[in-house]
Amino acid sequence: MTVSISDNQLEAQDAFSRASESQFKRAMRRTIKTRSAQVGLVLVVSFLIIGIFAPIVSPYDARSDLDLKARLQPPSAEHPFGTDDLGRDVLTRVIQGARVSLQVGVMVVAISLTIGTMLGLVAGLFGGILDSFIMRTMDVMLSFPYVLLAIALVAALGPGLRNAMIAIGIVYIPPYARLARSMALQIREEDFVLAARALGAGRRRIVFTHILPNGLSPLIVMGTLSMGTAILDAAALGFLGLGQQPPYPEWGKMLVDSMQFILSGSWWVMLFPGLAIMLTVLGFNLLGDGLRDALDPRLRIG
């Protein structure tokens, strides 16, 4: 008898928790169900693990482990990805490069998402001259191809990882600002916001408890997708010598350095860093697409 009561209780509890399960969790579950999102998640998680635990998983030390006697060795049991022109293990450098890319992805999204969302909300909520000024500035920034604006900014600020992250972060602001502004304009007219305002809720309360939570899905989707593009653009800056400076390994820089050695047939110095970039970015794109389909079907592109 007692057993069945507790069973019933459990069941009821379970049903209750399922009903109150947030929309977000449900969307996450839906995301994980699709095959492509699963692949994306696996790629992203392995990238995160490799990036975070780089010093532990690397077989060699990335910077100081030169062995000039073992220059440009093809892949072998000792060096699965071969060695570069200074006899450094390419696998180790690819692993260490993941750390740089992880840093770039996180920093760029942090910069662009916070500043962009703030600007967009301010523009949408206050309107008037402030709105025009912010949005026209965004239009001007969007008049440049992303990569070009980032290149010009870093060229001025000076090469280096920090400046590259700042530049890409700045360049990525406009889409977030546009999104946040349209979010604010749309949601502030909704009945529940009007009701909240009628109840005397202040602007800050409306922004943080009503507008932001409701606009979270597109921001998450955009954040995930821009992680990937940020890594791609940072690699492009690295390739142009504007990103992380040697001897620290960075995927884009490794690629540009590899160009002089492929003439002699050393394909491994070029293949692996490129594959690393592609798989990481692909992971974020797959995951982002999956999230978008689950969280916000309206944004769906194919």
Partner: protein, 396 residues
């Protein structure tokens, strides 16, 4: 429609000002003395001073911006009878004739019209001369070598245009059929395969693809050249600067084949991203239109599937795709920097890469400004063509 176009044009003006302001301010983002940054640590004080003077860095900022935009302008009232048109189409006040050269004078200096340095124009009897100013197309001189930037830009620009046009052509030719087939055979193997390919395409660094292509087709197989625009020893008469067009115009088949073989790899590398994006857009746009009521009506009328797809679905599905193609054409110029660097393609992208390494900011500024202008212009044209193409939108 006219009102819409005028309004759209008017909206472009503040954007152009903003763009010029942003490009102008790059040089002031440089930490420390820009002149010192450009010349390097071992520059002599005299050289730094000279560069500061030449770039006008000693002036107050607003003056510098106006100088950057319109240059140093002078106005002078002259006798219309003395005005003479130079070979460059500028106006000039004739001073005297030396052999077959006309000597011009203005503001105390004189020069022959072959090398007119102060470009002048006249509005009736008022002679307007300017020294510098991007508005007039004068981008100043490079820091290293003191080369006029505008002239060098003009020389290199066709190479980038040829590469970009070839890339966008490849992208459109492959992406549109791929997107259409994907949409018509939704969720089939061919659809999955195409969309996966498109996703890999946008996830790949194009400079890596460029190196891969160069390695496989240039080095391993030896089918195609690994860099440059034309092989050494091939003669080509330059007309447009687009080598394929020039060789066709002069019926120079040897040069045509050679130029084409040089163009293939960089164009493919540059085409990947727009290809992937256009294919995805075409597919989703087709799917959207295929689900509309009027398509069902067309089916109910008994129209053949071919007519429905080509006449009814594709035509309407193309609209958003046209916008995307425009945006991609603009973005290609950014991507060209990377592709040109890998393939040593002598366009503006390679030039900017070299200028960045040499910290030659006037070049970086000019190229950035030019590409942004093209980007704005292409977007303007796309918007206007959109208004023409879409019967549902009437803006006035």
């Amino acid at each position: 429609m006219t009102v819409y176009i005028l309004r759209r044009l008017a909206a472009t003006i503040p954007v152009l000002f903003g763009v010029s302001l942003l490009v102008f301010s790059f040089i002031h983002l440089i930490p420390g003395d820009p002149a010192l940054a450009m010349l390097g640590e071992h520059a002599t004080e005299e050289n730094v001073h000279r560069i500061r003077e030449r770039l006008g860095l000693n002036e107050p900022l607003p003056t510098q911006y106006v100088r950057f935009l319109v240059g140093k302008m002078t106005f002078e009232k002259v006798n219309p009878k003395d005005i003479y048109k130079t070979r460059k189409g500028n106006s000039c006040v004739k001073l005297e004739k030396l052999d077959n050269l006309i000597v011009c004078q203005h503001g105390g200096s004189s020069w022959t019209d072959k090398y007119d340095q102060n470009a002048c124009y006249n509005l009736a009897s008022v002679m307007i001369c300017h020294d510098g100013g991007v508005m007039w197309g004068d981008m100043g001189n490079s820091v290293h070598g003191n080369i006029p930037v505008a002239a060098e830009l003009k020389r290199r620009f066709p190479a980038t245009v040829e590469l970009s046009l070839a890339a966008i052509a490849i992208a459109i030719l492959i992406a549109i059929p791929a997107g259409v087939i994907s949409a018509l055979k939704r969720n089939s193997l061919i659809d999955t395969f195409t969309m996966m390919g498109a996703l890999v395409g946008v996830s790949m660094p194009i400079f890596w693809l460029a190196i891969l292509l160069m390695y496989v087709f240039g080095l391993l197989l030896g089918w195609l050249p690994t860099g440059g625009r034309l092989s050494v020893g091939i003669e080509l008469h330059h007309i447009t600067g687009l080598y394929l067009v020039d060789s066709l115009l002069t019926r120079n088949w040897v040069a045509f084949k050679d130029a084409l073989s040089h163009l293939v790899l960089p164009a493919i590398a540059l085409a990947t991203i727009p290809l992937a994006i256009i294919a995805r857009m075409m597919r989703s746009s087709m799917l959207e239109v295929l689900g509309l009521d009027y398509v069902r009506t067309a089916r109910a009328k008994g129209l053949s599937e071919r007519v429905i797809v080509v006449r009814h679905v594709m035509r309407n599905a193309m609209l958003p795709v046209v916008t995307i193609i425009g945006i991609q054409l603009g973005s290609l110029m950014g991507g060209a920097i990377l592709t040109e660097t890998v393939f040593a393609w002598p366009g503006i992208g390679k030039w900017v890469f070299d200028a960045i390494s040499g910290r030659d900011y006037p070049i970086v500024q000019s190229v950035t400004l030019l590409i942004a202008l093209i980007f704005v212009l292409v977007n303007l044209l796309v918007d206007i063509s959109y208004a023409f193409l879409n019967p549902r939108i009437r803006y006035d």
